[in-house]
């Protein structure tokens, strides 16, 4: 295997890892769609998809085959480049952020020292994709959805970033590897204990950033019928869906990394060494389940109520808690 050593060299290692992460993200989206439908079915007293394969487990495969074989229709007056670029602009940032998340001790594609800044910067590109999709489709419904999406995602970026600051202050580092290492030694050391209000704010902002119920106004399927993605079909639509679901997985992963100890086991003796990614997976799956659970339980807010919640409740709350955190750090 000597000849494969070049893969450890820098550009090759990064490219290979990026390919693997991209592949995993796409698969994650497909599996999440399946999980979403199963959770929805069980909550609604039905079985969900159960015809394709054993217990319906091959459903994602069938979905993907269907999406790939469907014709890609674009509206006649669409701005074609923007229209076709939007799904990519939505998907790439989501995939890129996975690069800085540590899955297990030492298992991180890029351990950069400004990982949290990278996360904040790259996720905000997602709003651009929404605007591109809404504007490029040239439809009233899409435009309304895009405007809603832009307003919502940009507003909720503020509490999202503010809620991260507490963790950054406690760790003293912007690197996610440092954040995870600082939370070792049992679940009482996780930042969710010290920063519980921040965790709630982060969680709600993450719901809004990923456009999930109760903040799915850009989609708003009962009034603007899918919003910015109304004109998409086939694999472009599939890519938007993949971006949404992968974004949900990403937000779960980030919240686990920042507040729930990342790959750290809940108790010392449960340490699995290299296999600590199991803990990361379990925690992420639990957070994703709560996303889905909320999705199938709650109705949607209205735009003005959404803005009220963001600016009048969550931003002041995070500011107050930041002051409390700073004061506590001075005292102890």
């Amino acid at each position: 295997m000597e000849f494969l050593n070049f893969l450890n060299q820098e550009p090759f290692r990064f490219l290979l890892a990026f390919g693997v992460v991209l592949f995993l993200t796409l698969n994650l989206a497909a599996i999440l769609v399946m999980g979403e439908r199963k959770v929805a079915g069980y909550i609604q007293l039905r079985y969900g998809p159960n015809r394709v394969g054993p217990r319906g487990l091959l459903q994602p495969l069938a979905d993907i085959i269907k999406l790939f074989t469907k014709e890609n229709i674009s509206p006649g007056k669409a701005d074609l480049w923007i229209f076709l670029g939007a799904p990519i602009a939505m998907f790439i940032p989501v995939a890129a952020v996975w690069l800085v998340i540590p899955f297990a001790p030492g298992a991180v594609v890029a351990d950069i020292n400004v990982a949290i800044l990278f996360f904040v910067a790259v996720t905000s590109i997602g709003a651009l994709g929404v605007i591109m999709a809404g504007y490029g489709s040239r439809s009233n419904f899409s435009l309304l959805g895009a405007l809603r999406g832009a307003a919502q995602m940009i507003s909720y970026e503020v509490p999202l970033i503010l809620s991260l600051l507490g963790v950054v202050m406690l760790t003293g580092s912007l690197s996610l590897v440092d954040v995870v290492n600082a939370q070792g030694g049992g679940f009482w050391n996780w930042y969710v204990v010290l920063q519980f209000p921040m965790f709630i704010v982060f969680y709600i902002s993450a719901l809004a950033e990923t456009k999930r119920v109760p903040f799915d106004l850009p989609e708003g399927e009962s009034e603007i019928v899918g919003g910015y993605m109304i004109e998409y079909s086939g694999m472009t639509w599939g890519l938007i869906q993949a971006a949404e679901f992968a974004g949900m997985g990403l937000m779960s992963g980030i919240s686990v990394t920042l507040f729930l100890g990342g790959w750290q086991p809940p108790l010392e003796f449960l340490d699995l060494g290299q296999f600590n990614w199991v803990w990361f997976g379990i925690k992420t799956a639990l957070i994703m389940f709560t996303f889905q659970w909320i999705r199938w339980s709650l109705p949607r807010l209205r735009m003005d109520q959404l803005m009220d919640l963001g600016w009048k409740v969550m931003v002041p709350l995070t500011l107050v808690w930041l002051v409390i955190t700073a004061a506590a750090m001075l005292v102890f």
């Binding site: 309304l144 119920v213 109760p214 708003g220 009962s222 339980s297 709650l298 949607r300 209205r302």
Partner: protein, 394 residues
């Protein structure tokens, strides 16, 4: 369409949804344009085939014109060309979510012109069927509202109950949706043995399930309250002016119920309350609906207790040839007042039949109430009317 004066008038109101309308002079001064938008007829939340022409100022609706007629089937003309008994199955297709009430209205009108005497058991069976149908219509309507607000789950819990009620209706009538059970002069057949015990057993379970899976899940939720409170607010005078009936009217505090005020069938012998609420918004009309579910359960229990023995069909002869004249029947359908006017010329079939359908009449509310609300508020307001496509288009 709102006239210019009317629009200025709504602008003058403040503290209500209408206060959100941008003043026309400001808009012209800054050269702001509004956006026209077509909602429907192919739209998932339009209760069928309704088209709304909207004029939007950002997210605020300036004007809302409903366009109907995409499901028009000339039901009134068909009723003129059929013999009296053959019209009853056609009335099932009017308001297809509460068919029994349509049949009831029509047979009441024809019996009025025939001066027929209906056996008491038939009347009790009719009330039983009407109230079962009201349950089967009100419970999903609460789910429909949640569906329009973005929550998918309550509708499926609600449809579980509707399907179970439909099982009873199927056992009694033979069909799940297009029942054709009421006949001129009575009902088609007596109840199958043992069905009353099954219904009463079912109602015991329904009370608990309705409380948890619909009332607690829906009405307690803060998001539900935020989305429905003060949305679609109207005054009692406005509601009466627009000819609104049913839960939206009772939600404004007007105490009006055909079952009590213009009694038909055996409702005078039964003990029930007319549920009203003062707020006049979407939430109020849904509180009325939830209250009516409890009242319907109460009525069904009384009917089961009082059910008399006897024939279920009056002998009206083989061919129905009413006297010349007209008959009128009005019933309280889940959506409001359903009334039928039948004009007879003494022949086999009616000279003219007119249906007054609550879905159609309540639809006027949209033009008056919607302007000034945000775009997503149209859905709960439509849910408040809870129209049925077959009803408004006839």
């Amino acid at each position: 369409m709102l006239s210019e004066e009317r629009r200025n008038e709504t602008v003058a109101l403040d503290g209500t949804a209408s206060g959100r309308l941008a003043r026309p002079d400001i808009r012209s001064e800054f050269g702001l344009e509004t956006m026209d938008m077509n909602m429907g007829p192919q739209h998932p939340a339009m209760h069928g085939l309704l088209r709304l022409i909207l004029e939007l100022d950002g997210e605020t609706v300036m004007r809302c014109d409903p366009v109907m007629g995409y499901l028009h089937r000339s039901q009134e003309k068909i009723a003129e060309n059929r013999m009296y008994p053959a019209v009853v199955p056609m009335t099932d297709r009017l308001d297809y979510f509460a068919n029994i009430h349509n049949e009831h209205g029509y047979v009441l009108a024809v019996e009025d012109v025939l001066d027929a005497e209906i056996p008491p058991r038939a009347e009790y069976i009719r009330v039983l069927m009407s109230e079962l149908m009201r349950l089967a219509s009100h419970i999903p309507s609460i789910g429909f509202l949640m569906l329009e607000l973005g929550a998918f789950t309550p509708i499926l819990y609600a449809f579980r109950e509707r399907e179970r009620i439909q099982n009873f209706l199927e056992a009694i009538t033979g069909a799940r949706m297009m029942f054709h059970y009421f006949r001129i002069g009575g009902v088609k057949a007596d109840l199958p043995p043992g069905i009353l015990e099954e219904i009463s057993e079912y109602l015991d379970g329904l009370e608990g399930r309705f409380q948890t899976d619909t009332v607690d899940l829906v009405t307690g939720s803060e998001i539900y309250v935020a989305r429905t409170k003060d949305v679609g607010k109207m005054t009692p005078e406005q509601a009466l002016d627009m000819g609104v009936t049913g839960p939206p009217l009772r939600g404004t505090g007007v105490d009006f119920d055909i079952r009590r005020d213009y009694p038909y069938s055996v409702y005078p012998e039964l003990d029930f309350d007319v549920v009203t609420d003062d707020a006049g918004d979407v939430a109020a009309s849904y509180r009325v609906r939830i209250g009516e579910v409890w009242q319907s359960i109460r009525i069904i229990r009384q009917v089961i207790e009082k059910m008399p023995e006897g024939p279920v069909m009056a002998d009206l002869g083989r061919r129905l040839r009413p006297r010349e004249g007209d008959g009128f029947g009005r019933v309280e359908s889940p959506r409001g007042e359903f009334a039928v006017h039948v004009v007879s010329d003494g022949s086999d079939s009616a000279y003219r039949v007119h249906y007054r359908d609550p879905s159609f009449c309540n639809m006027q509310l949209l033009q008056e109430v919607v302007p000034g609300h945000y775009l997503p508020d149209i859905m709960p307001i439509l849910g408040m009317i809870d129209p049925v496509s077959g009803g408004w288009d006839k």
